[in-house]
Each structure stands twice: as structure tokens, then as C-alpha cells.
Symmetry: C2
Subunit: 483 residues, 2 copies
Amino acid sequence: MASSWVNLAEQLGSDLHLELTGPGSRRSALTRALRDAVSDGRLASGTRLPPYRSLAADLGLARNTVADAYAELVAEGWLVARQGSGTRVAARIEPVRVPRVPKETPARPAPAAHNLRQGQPDVASFPRSAWLAATRRALTAAPNEAFGPGDPRGRRELRRALAEYLARARGVRTTPDRIVVCSGFAHALRLLFGGRVLRGPLAVESYGLAFHRAVLESASVRTVPLTLDEHGARTAELGSLTGVRAALLTPAHQFPTGGPLPPERRVTLVDWARTCGGLILEDDYDGEFRYDREPVGAVQGLDPERVVYIGSISKSLSPALRLGWMVLPEHLVAPVLTAKGEREAWASVADQLTLADFIGSGHYDRHIRRMRQRYRARRDRLVAALAAHAPHIVPTGIAAGLHAVLRLPPGTERSVVKAAAWQSIALDGLADFRHPSAAMPAHDGLVVGYAAPPDHGYGPALEALCRILPPAGPDAGAVLRQK
Amino acid sequence: MASSWVNLAEQLGSDLHLELTGPGSRRSALTRALRDAVSDGRLASGTRLPPYRSLAADLGLARNTVADAYAELVAEGWLVARQGSGTRVAARIEPVRVPRVPKETPARPAPAAHNLRQGQPDVASFPRSAWLAATRRALTAAPNEAFGPGDPRGRRELRRALAEYLARARGVRTTPDRIVVCSGFAHALRLLFGGRVLRGPLAVESYGLAFHRAVLESASVRTVPLTLDEHGARTAELGSLTGVRAALLTPAHQFPTGGPLPPERRVTLVDWARTCGGLILEDDYDGEFRYDREPVGAVQGLDPERVVYIGSISKSLSPALRLGWMVLPEHLVAPVLTAKGEREAWASVADQLTLADFIGSGHYDRHIRRMRQRYRARRDRLVAALAAHAPHIVPTGIAAGLHAVLRLPPGTERSVVKAAAWQSIALDGLADFRHPSAAMPAHDGLVVGYAAPPDHGYGPALEALCRILPPAGPDAGAVLRQK
């Protein structure tokens, strides 16, 4: 519609331009223009509007168009029409402080120059065209009912693809009907504990993601830390924790300190669950990314009735699609679905169907293989950079995952983390991951994610990292403290 | 990989076939085959496996391949290797009851022959090709960071498109930074009340969705019913409700009984919020679908600092994509983002970007117009069918939305709802929507959704509906009770 405007100065005794623009009918445009004029105070409360006939003549509109616009604004409460006294702007309409020109407030801190934060995959490697092709196939093939209210378990196509994939790639033993799709690991925790399917206290590893502990805390779940040593979580401690009937672990790759849980500790873990009727929550957050040999299969396969296996595509594809899954013991399927509710399927059906096709057509396997090569190359560059520039700093936990832990001399972590912030390097110190009531000795260290930087930024990020590491020598801590 | 198998009868003293199939390397296939054999009990606990050299020879594999497979299964806890006594199946491995062939359990009741349930859009009308084209444009144009961890407010592209669209189509006054994307109305309620941004008691309409009351109850929010009359919610009652500082209403189209909230009641509502420092939650669930005149604009426009405006695409496009939004007063933005958490963006970025493009390119407006015509035609057929076959049954609330309310003679609702179930017609009686402590008189009625059936099924659904309606006459209730 062409823009047209009228100056209502004569009719109103004050200067007012009405501009009729935008898509839709002239009536819509007039309604919008009048509403805006009232809302921003140009037409004040109590102002009498011109009779619709004269406004129609001024604007070159049909009388009905103006009459309809007035009626709409009366229905919405902007105007008041009274027999004999015409149409006025309603009382109590206050001009509003919302700026008319949308302005974004700067709500987030500027991103760091070098992003070595753990937990983020390489966003530049998201397989856009393969994903798009899968979306096209999936949405074209989907039955109409897919666009209606969803099954709270998630789409059957995806649960079938996952059952097959997880058996093949992760040694998980399940059927599609024991899989419940969710939007990620935290959503799984919320369903299990917020939904009162499980109750605390919950044994956790002494080092883990603070965000997960926060989710558990908000569901009033007390967490009890298990000691970690160089072989991972001491699962033998579980038997002595009174009242603890559930344990959350990262058996494929202890987060964030490294290595897979050794075989005898896996057996101890499963034995504990069998003996006390307990449950193991297996967080398989990056199980696919093991570099020097095949990935270690899931604990879930050892006893599917004692393990809730939880995975997602947040590390393997993208955290932005919000897709994860739980593989449940049979007796937990119904309670989890009750907690989830019939009405809220959460994960987008478009993405669910796309992922089902992506897995079924082999693109997921190909993507994992490609990313494994890329991440291994990045890890190797990190190891080489340290060997060349800081040979006294030993990277650990490098056999798998998207991050390494750099052990630091005692007493140096805080200074190094501060130096990182000054140099605009985003990374975390080990202390950020430590359970507040952990009894084991604290180690100084950096958790360095190597997946997030773009290719051209990785070299400079490694150089920046090497520059902030403490110098070699027995008294590195003292040297740093003097700086 | 070609399938190959070996019979281990000689080596094990029992009959065992190992079949090497599936994608991936021969080592993966062997690992999988051995793991399966242990997990389903064919290789029992304690069984000694053949030395890797002889198994390699039998299978025609390299020795290293078999040695690696053994080592992996040891790492996972399936096998145990001891110096001098070879490799055995670990103790405590129990054969598992998970059926090896995936079988879906029938978990949901068979769908009804005629679906006249309210709240479901026409799934056959989902604009697949326009949506796919928007996905293609959106994913192609997206910056790499879109595939990383998301902004908890939602994508900026979508918030901008929504601010423009909601201003234009719904009279909402906002800036993009006051919009928070969520996954639907229930998620909004969970964030506001479960996240302790707001507290009860909360005034609600005496008739509304039981599911929403359940969400509020689970967040320990007490709800206080407002009386409805033929003009909608009596907002004047709000002033007399002690302790109530928040009210949830459906001003565009009272759910489920009909009509928009009249102008003077809108003003009363906003006045109440201003006087007591209260907050209005505006559930604009189907505001776009008004048939006989332009949609009534949102109450939010009257006072953006007193209204939380909540909408979604569940009725306008599909409930399966899980996309909704809140338009917040300025002072609630930060608390809602805190409740949402930095880590959980919930709504899929692919869908968010697609919807932003879909709105910006005008496809959303076109889809709404097309659906408005389709739904109006369906409503007209419902009205015509009733006029022809049950002229004594008056449909109400038909000016807007995807459903109508059929008023029934007193005392007949339960029998009619039962009859519907027998005839395999999915619909709800008005009683299902009534607040348990509502004080107003109860009305008998049916809530009939006309959007859900496929085109070819709509005529038969209307016929089936007319057959179960009570006959005319002053004592229809008595007649039905005798049946």
C-alpha cells in the first residue's frame, strides 16, 4: 500500500500527522497509526477525535474504513465512544516508555579474543548442507500427524535410529520404547529429579560441571562427592555412603579430569547398584570422541536395568539444536513420561526427524569421523605447543574429548586464570569444577577446550595460552605470586 | 563390509556363531559381536575365550584386530584378562532381558475416528515447502556462532521479527530485548512461577485449560477463579481478592467459552494492576484467528509495564515445533533470564532462525490468512450443520479461534460426552475446563474443535456430532437420562 498521511491540526487543535504505511489493508494501517498516536501520547487522554466522516474525507478513505478502525480501537480499550459526545481517547492511557525504535541492550560481555572454554564444539564445522538435505528428506516424508501434538517419548523415527546407533557405537542395549527424547543433559536431570522420579542424595564425582550441581540443587537434591584419583572415580566408596541410592558418573571420559573408568571400577559400580537396588546415571557427554583407540563402550550395556544412560548432540553436532536422550530401565519409563507430561514434548519435531534421517543415512557417523580427525589434530597441536614452549606443563586427559587438563604447579592456578582474563583468553581453572564439599586434595590446573576457536584463530590462541603458563622450576608458585 | 562368521564350538566346547556385520571396521564388528554374545548369555560368565591368535586365524583377521577387540572389551568390563590364565568373560555379567529385536510397546490409546478436540490446528495444512525454503535460507545465512551455545533470550533475528510482527498484527508494544523465546505457553508459566519470578496466588478465569492449572499447582501456586458471564471475565472482582497481585487471562478470546474481553473490562483490568502494583499475564493463544472482523489487539499495548504477553506458534503453525515467546515488562527481563539460565536455550536455533525468516518474508502472514479462510469455512459448516440438524443447540464463541462451545440443556453434558466416546468422537465437555473452586453456576456444554480433522473427515465428523446431540424439547435432560 502506498503511504499517505494527513495532518489533523485543524480538527484536533494540535499538530498530528497520521501516516498510513506497512502491509495489510488501509483499515489495519489506520488502526495502527491511531493506536501508535495514542500510545506515544501524541493523542492525549480525553482528546476528541474528528468525526469519522471528516477523517475519511481527509484521508481519502471510505467512511466504513474509518468507522471500522474506530470500532476496533474502542474494542481494544484505546478509544471510548459515547452517544452524543463522539469518540474520545480513553482516560488512563499513559504514554509508554517503550522506545519506538527497537534498541538492543548490550546484555552479554564481549566475547574473548581466544575461546579455549571447554564444552563447545567447533561451530564452523556444523554440517549445514548435509543437515539441510536431511531436513528436506525428513519433512517431505513425515506423516501429517508429525505436525500435531507430539508423543512425550519423542518421535518413533528418532528413537529407532538412536537404538540402532547407540547399540552399534556405544554398546548400549535398549529398545526404542525405553528411549525418551529430551532437550539435553540438564533437561534429563530436571525430569529425573525435578519430576520426583528419583530423589537425592546423589553421589557425584568430586570434579564436575558446576551447572549440573546447580540444577540438582534447585531440585533440592543433596550431592555427595566421590574421590577421584589418577584412575578416575573411586566407585568402591559408594558402599559406605549411607542413604545414597543413585550415582552420577562420566565413565567414558571423566569430566573434566580425563580418562575412562577402569574395568574393575565399572564392575564395582554395577555391583553396588545391584546390591543396594541403586541406580547409575551415566553421562556420556563426549563418548564418541576417543582418539588413540576405539571409544570405550557405555556402562549401560553391563546392566540396562540399573543404568540411566544420557547423551545428546551438544558436543557431537551443536548445542543450539537442543536434542538429547535418556535410555531408561524399564521401570522408569512410565514415571519419566509422567514427569514430562503429555503436553510438552520440548524437542522440535523438525529437528527430531532430521536427526533420525541424519543418523539413518550414515551422515552422523561420517560427521563424527570427520570431527574426530579435526579434534585429534587440534589436540596434537596443543600437545606439540606445550612440548615446545612449556615442556614442564603436562597435559592430561588427552586420549578423548574436546578438552585437556593442564596440571599447574601448586598455588599457581588463580594467578594463571587471572592472567588468562587479562589476555582475553576464555578458559576455566580446575577449581571451578570442584565440588564444594570434596574431601580429596585440590590440584591446580587449567581446563583447556580446543574445539571452539575457528581454524585461523587456533594457532594464536595456543600462543596466547603458552605465554600465560608459569615458568619451569621448583618454585614457580612463588615466582608467580611475586609478579 | 562383507558378513563373515565363525563357529567357535571347538574352542569353547559349545556352539557359538560370531557374525561380523554392520558398518565400520572389522575390529568394531568383532567387538560388537563378542559384546552381544556375552550380553545375551551365549558366552557365559567365566568362559575362557580362545587365544587371540587362533580366533584371528579362524576369522581370517589380523592378530592385532582380535587383540584390540579383546582389549576394548576388557576396558568396558565385559572380559577379564589375567596373566597366565588368558581372557575370560567377566563374572557378574547377567544375560539381559532387553529383547534383541526392537519391539515398540503400544503405549497410547488408538486415535478416535473423529477428532473434534479443541486446541489442535489442521496438521495437514502445515506449510512444508515454504517452511523448508525458509530453513534453507535461514541456515545458509546464519553466522557460525548460531550453532554454538545460545543466548537465553533466543536468537536476535527472531526477536526482531517478532517485535515487528506483534506490533503490526497484535498491537503489542515492545522492543526485541524485552522478548524471551521459550518453547510454549506452559514453559512460560514454568519459568515465571517455577523459577520464582512471580508468586501466587494467581487469579484465573473460572473456565480454562486444566493442564495450565496443573503446571501452576506443580509450582505450588494457588489459583483463585474469576467469575465469567456472557461478556467474559468479571475483572472488577480482582480488587476484592486479597493477596492477589497477578491475573492470567485470555483477553482476545476467552478460553474456552468465547468472546473478547470488552473495552471497559480491559480498562478495569489495567487499572487494577496499576493500583495494586499487580501484573497481568495475557495468554494470546489464538489472537490471529478472528473471522468476522479484524482481530482485537492485545491488552499489552495498553500498559507494557503491567502485562506479560505470551504467544506461540502452536495454534498458528504447529505445536510440534515447540516455539513460543514472552513479551516482558522491563523489570522482569533479568529475573526471567536468570530463571531460564545461561545454559538452556530450549528452543531449537534451526526453528528460531526459520521462523524469523518465515515472518520476515511475509510467509507467516500469508499462512495466517490462508488458515483464517479455511477455519472460517469449517466454522460455517459447523454452524450450518447445527442449524440443519440440531437447531435448538446454539453454538457460542464462534467469532474467533479454532473451536466453538455448544450449549447443552442442563443435566445432559455427561451423557453426551459418554455418547461421544462410544461413537469414537474425541471432544471435551465444558466441565473438564471448570476450575475446581469456581463459584459461578456451571453450564452444560461441549467444546468442539473444528481444525483437527482432515478435510475428507470433517463432514463425517459433523454428522457423527449431530447424531449424539440431545433432542429438542424442554425435558431433553430427562429423555437422555432414560436412554
